[in-house]
Symmetry: C2
Subunit: 765 residues, 2 copies
């Protein structure tokens, strides 16, 4: 036995202890391993014959040490308190020296070399094997910690901007005791609570914020979006119920109605005395709303419209506020006058009276349980010949004359309908802003948890916060960067919407459609990642990520299916693109642009294509150029492709279908360029140097991570070479590592009140 | 006015009608458009002065046609029932001819040319503008439909394999009235129902299926996995409760205990008379279970173990069956004998008696609401010095001798613990098989819905099933292909596990870890995509996708966090890789392999690198080579990278951290190669020609889609050039288009009973 007796007789033998311990602790000894050890033993001229025999015996699996023995070896080794000994040989040698107690160290340099060689052959070249005997082995990974490079309060001011006071006011409301979260036993309780909350919000004046002052509002549309966004740090059923009432129902009256409707309804809507619905979608027509089948048939005799649902699948579906509380609804229906169809128009239709009794001819079915948003009472509505008066037509864009004739300033039914929809584009701003808040909550919770949650660690050292692991950083830091990117992008979208001139309408609509799709996909992705990154804790409802995810999951469907919206954006981009090129022939334009792009890239070759120095990789101009190149090349190639297919005889509908995947990329690349532009602009206009530096880093991470995701495309195009995309990957890793240090501060800067975050895992130490 | 009077006077003017209609219907006329039209008008020598004036007047926005007028124009055009007229010029000319009624057609070829030119300049070159006047415009896209190329029953036989009878038996059980789905008002009701279902399953003998015959089982482990998988077409809370009781609790007794424990417990576990738990995870130790802090201190005086929870964060957490029903638990705790720590061992510890009263010293807290699986009563368990007898140690791998000494055939505490864990690897087979069933359910529902749901369509034609859209195919078909890929891969994993020799243990453990991660990430992705692809319908609970998604969401955490598992796989691959290379020096191996790979690629250049012909792209050998190359190159470069960093002086823990992202790719690429290999093998051994063809196509789609996802890597490596990755993208689109025709049959072949699918949207016509 390698016991104390033997070792005290010849303490030089101690040099073998770390080897033997490691072999028996970790290895299933192979014959190769055994041979290696035998060679080592026999190379040591200082060993006596019987010592050699003993050492060799100890390699026999039948005579392996017991668990106790193994432990005693380890204790012996640890007794010398080894520190920073890089390999087992050095450790063994130190151990041998320390045990001499008057004996002579007889191990020589050439002997040590043989140990080193054996160590290498056994695959113990990494220092882990030696570290395990240490008490407090620390590593760069272990030592990394949160360390804010800026003042989070200042950063919050940058994010909140001019609406900082309103944001605080809303937070003050939400942190009152009435708004404490509940776990609901039943869906009915949840719906009742959500209605209650909405009533309080209405009382505070938030519901009517966007309405004109004469109807109790503040005439502040920007404020309304800010309210939606801030409320979204709280329960999202409440937000959607709020949005249905004041945004969809209220705004449809405001934008599609005229003075008489405003007078009649707005005040009561804003105070929530008149809960209502926005009834557009039908079971058979969701994305393709132009095909709605509900009819509004005009009867000139009594000057009424008959609202009618022709069949079950033409019922209005998913209508918020319909199942329980809605008393009236803006109903979209095809207007029929004298048998002629004038396309989809909007009407105010009664659903139930103040006591909740259904109006004659109205049938409502509850949509029942949903993946999330169970505090919202969505329903199906069928109209069985419900009469409404001529005044109930929302007549801003079309009306019926006193003579019973259809009048509209827009002759085309389609154009008229899309003009009406265009006024309601605000929904496509409110939704991504709400999604972003939810993503910010999720990221704050997941990042805080990862900062305190420790798991694994170096041999001989303590466990390490999981946020120090590169993979965890890769999971969360790019999302954090993107949340900042989306913040500035959605601010920009809001401003463009609020200040738009008439001829910017289509651009803003496309922008909103694209931002809505991009932003809500982001939220889904971010919250899914947060759920997984928090492991079992992320699965518990108390930590809120599951609700955030489930409640926002439908945002990718709300206000238009994202995939459909991205195609809308693409079509608008193709049209825009053609328009920008003016009179030039279509083919010529494409050829020109493609050549243009290729030339500019060829000119830069090899400087840009292969350049991998940090300065270049972090350069804003490089980023934006890469985004722009991608955007331009994709839109040009998509247009060319469709054109070629059609010229070759393909039906244009089929051609667009063949290119559908391509078109989604057209939309995506356009939105990404817009987002990056705004983020860069925000960095450039930031005054505080520390905040600016941190934002710059986030912006670089957003840009490079996006390029990395699209690297297949850049490589295909020859816009970058492999050496460069690899360097970008490394740089993304590096930026993740650096941003991690600011990560807590960056989430603090979101300024989400702790009471609203609520997740216990966000408050551990 | 372009009214009937005028037109009947000179019907040739009708040629302008389609142009004017389209301009006013679609355009916001720009000055360029107006100029184009004026040029056209003035080019027509047959027009009289007043006709020219009138036509020009009609371009004045102030004198635009009314909605009624527009409609009358359209009616006029449609009156001739145009069919397949490719542009407005032809349409106008046909219209003009048809209206002549004895008049003369005075429009000549050169006039028509001017129309064509104008049409091009106005951007009306696509035929959509003309199609809208047709009655029944059909396109290739419209006409695509489901059309099975094989017999789904035969395909189902291939999938079910030798367990076809057992699968049918389980389905017969699940389609009985007792198993009808419920919507629960309260979590208590759900838990009660799930327990009830498990009792029925136990009565049918499913719970003990894997147990030896002498304990009421069938000694059929393969059957047990089949049961888990088939049950997973039903409620997943039930599946997990079932798995906790019979898989975790039962198997821990079976694999970690010895005869005495089997005698004492197995029969009652299999019949569910003794509900129990598997208590490993603690709040502070989930992934890093080696660090568990619960202690089991041996007292030789009374031969007992004292089970103790040292602090709140060392409580057992997320333990299934703990909150309500569990009477005993297999508890993992550090065994302490005489102050010496012998690592983590397992003990049977009482939680509550048959009447549900907690055992003295046991404290249990309910985990409460979760994202999903709310039918499972997960809880936290704290032990306050709970005494158990010496016999309660599960002593297959370690025990305490009569003299109070620790005995084990495995000296190393770590190795012993990982050996114990190794026997429980079945959980990492059951979980991905359950996940796959859930994904199959989701895909069946989403694909059936997309096959009947119609939205949008060509101008003048009917609406088209959304499954005919390329983008929708791209969303669902690769997932369908991957579900087949996973099916064969998990079958292979199961067989390897069941037939493993002793020295295959580590390989199988790595394989199971990797397949679990790959398979559960797949399920999460697939179900998320299904949710979105079904729009609002996918959000309603009645259509089950939301529950499938939420219930399986934690599968990526269960049985080990996927990211951690993939790193385990990577480490095993690095070790394996080194071992395969035998005695060779580590550095030499890497250099050799890297060179090897580069040479083989260089040899193939340019044939493989640029080859884009269909035969090559669809070739199994090309696919597998590409997967293998990726796997080999990634593992070699990861090893080299870590080695270089350590040699440069970095702590090995830090070096592994730096390469963490890389390591996850090592695991992923290994699993992907294994999956493809098994899928190809399954295709090759399929007898029925029609099924074989269809499986072959799915296998090609799986392979090419995976390559497409990794195309950035292949391009970086120079393994493929852009021209090839673009061709692959096209081929993926084409395969999606072709697989779509078989999609309904391919989901029918899963053989999921309609009662279990249940989603109304899966049963529309």
């Amino acid at each position: 036995m390698l016991n104390s007796d033997l070792l005290s007789e010849n303490p030089n033998l101690c040099i073998f202890l770390p080897f033997y311990f490691t072999l028996w602790e970790d290895f299933n000894l192979t014959t190769t391993d055994i041979d290696t050890m035998k060679k080592l033993i026999n190379s040591q001229s200082w060993l006596k014959k019987e010592e050699i025999n003993l050492l060799e015996q100890y390699l026999n699996p039948d005579q392996k040490p017991s668990a106790e023995e193994l432990k005693s070896w380890k204790n012996q080794i640890q007794f010398i308190k080894p520190q920073n000994l890089k390999n087992l040989t050095t450790l063994g040698f130190e151990l041998a020296k320390s045990q001499q107690n008057g004996h002579e160290v007889i191990i020589q340099d050439k002997d040590l070399k043989a140990f080193q060689k054996a160590e290498k052959e056994l695959g113990l070249i990494f220092n882990e094997a030696a570290y395990r005997f240490e008490d407090s082995h620390t590593t760069v990974t272990s030592l990394q910690q949160s360390k804010s490079s800026f003042d989070p309060k200042l950063m919050q001011e940058i994010l909140d901007g001019s609406k900082i006071d309103l944001i605080q006011k809303v937070k003050d409301t939400l942190t009152k005791a009435e708004f404490a979260y509940h776990q609901y036993d039943k869906i009915e309780d949840q719906r009742a609570q959500v209605l209650e909350w909405c009533k309080i919000l209405a009382k505070e004046g938030y519901g009517s914020w966007a309405f004109p002052r004469e109807f109790g509002g503040r005439a502040d549309m920007e404020g309304y979006f800010t309210i939606m966004e801030t409320l979204s740090y709280h329960d999202l059923s409440m937000v959607i119920k709020f949005g249905v009432q004041f945004g969809l129902w209220g705004m449809s009256i405001y934008f599609l109605g005229t003075e008489k409707h405003h007078q009649k309804y707005l005040k009561e809507i804003g105070s929530l005395e008149l809960p209502g619905c926005f009834a557009m979608t039908e079971t058979n027509h969701g994305s393709n709303v132009r095909g709605l089948e509900t009819t509004a048939t005009y009867n000139h005799d009594d000057k009424t419209f008959t609202i009618h649902t022709p069949h079950q699948n033409a019922r209005k579906e998913y209508i918020g506020n319909a199942a329980l509380h809605g008393q009236k609804a803006t109903v979209f229906a095809k207007l029929i006058i004298n048998g002629e169809d004038y396309g989809v128009n909007a009407f105010v239709v009664p659903l139930r009276n103040k006591s909740g009794e259904l109006h004659a001819g109205v049938e409502i079915e509850d949509c029942g349980h949903k993946m999330g948003l169970n505090g919202v009472d969505n329903g199906l509505i069928a109209f069985n010949k419900v009469l409404v008066s001529k005044d109930d037509m929302l007549d801003r864009f079309a009306s019926v004359s006193d003579e019973g004739k259809f009048i509209s300033s827009i002759s085309s039914d389609n154009k008229r309908f899309f003009t009406m929809l265009g006024t309601l584009v605000g929904g496509r701003i409110g939704i991504p802003r709400s999604a972003l808040s939810a993503a910010k909550s999720g990221l704050t919770i997941a990042i805080r948890y990862a900062n305190t949650r420790k798991q694994f660690g170096p041999e001989g050292g303590g466990e390490v916060p999981i946020l120090n692991y590169r993979m965890h950083q890769r999971r969360l830091m790019p999302l954090l960067a993107k949340s900042y990117a989306m913040h500035f992008a959605l601010k920009y979208l809001t401003n463009r919407f609020l200040t738009k001139s008439e001829d910017e309408g289509q651009e803003i609509e496309a922008l909103a459609a694209g931002m809505k799709a991009y932003g809500t996909w982001f939220a889904t992705e971010a919250l899914q990642e947060c759920r997984e990154a928090c492991g079992g804790k992320g699965y518990l409802s108390e930590n809120r990520i599951s609700d955030l995810k489930n409640d926002t999951d439908v945002y990718t469907t709300f206000e238009g299916d994202n995939t459909v919206l991205m195609q809308l954006v693409a079509k608008s981009r193709l049209t825009e693109f053609k328009k920008e090129m003016g009179d030039m022939n279509f083919t010529a334009i494409f050829n020109y642009l493609t050549k243009q792009a290729k030339t500019s890239f060829a000119e830069k070759n090899p400087i840009v294509v292969r350049s991998t120095d940090d300065k270049h990789l972090l350069d804003f101009e490089f980023h934006l150029n890469a985004f722009k190149y991608r955007e331009g090349a994709i839109v040009a190639s998509a247009g060319q492709r469709i054109k070629r297919l059609v010229e070759d005889g393909m039906d244009s509908f089929d051609a667009v279908n063949v290119a559908q995947h391509h078109l989604v990329n057209v939309g995506q690349s356009y939105i990404e360029r817009k987002v990056l532009e705004q983020f860069q602009l925000a960095v450039e206009t930031t005054q505080n140097a520390a905040c600016k530096r941190s934002l710059q880093q986030l912006c670089q991470l957003y840009a490079l991570h996006t390029i990395e995701q699209n690297r297949g495309w850049y490589l295909e195009q020859g816009y970058m070479e492999g050496v460069k995309t690899k360097a970008i990957r490394k740089m993304v890793n590096q930026l993740c590592w650096e941003v991690r240090q600011d990560a807590i501060a960056l989430t603090d800067a979101f300024g989400i009140p702790n009471q609203l975050l609520a997740a216990p895992i966000a408050f551990q130490s």
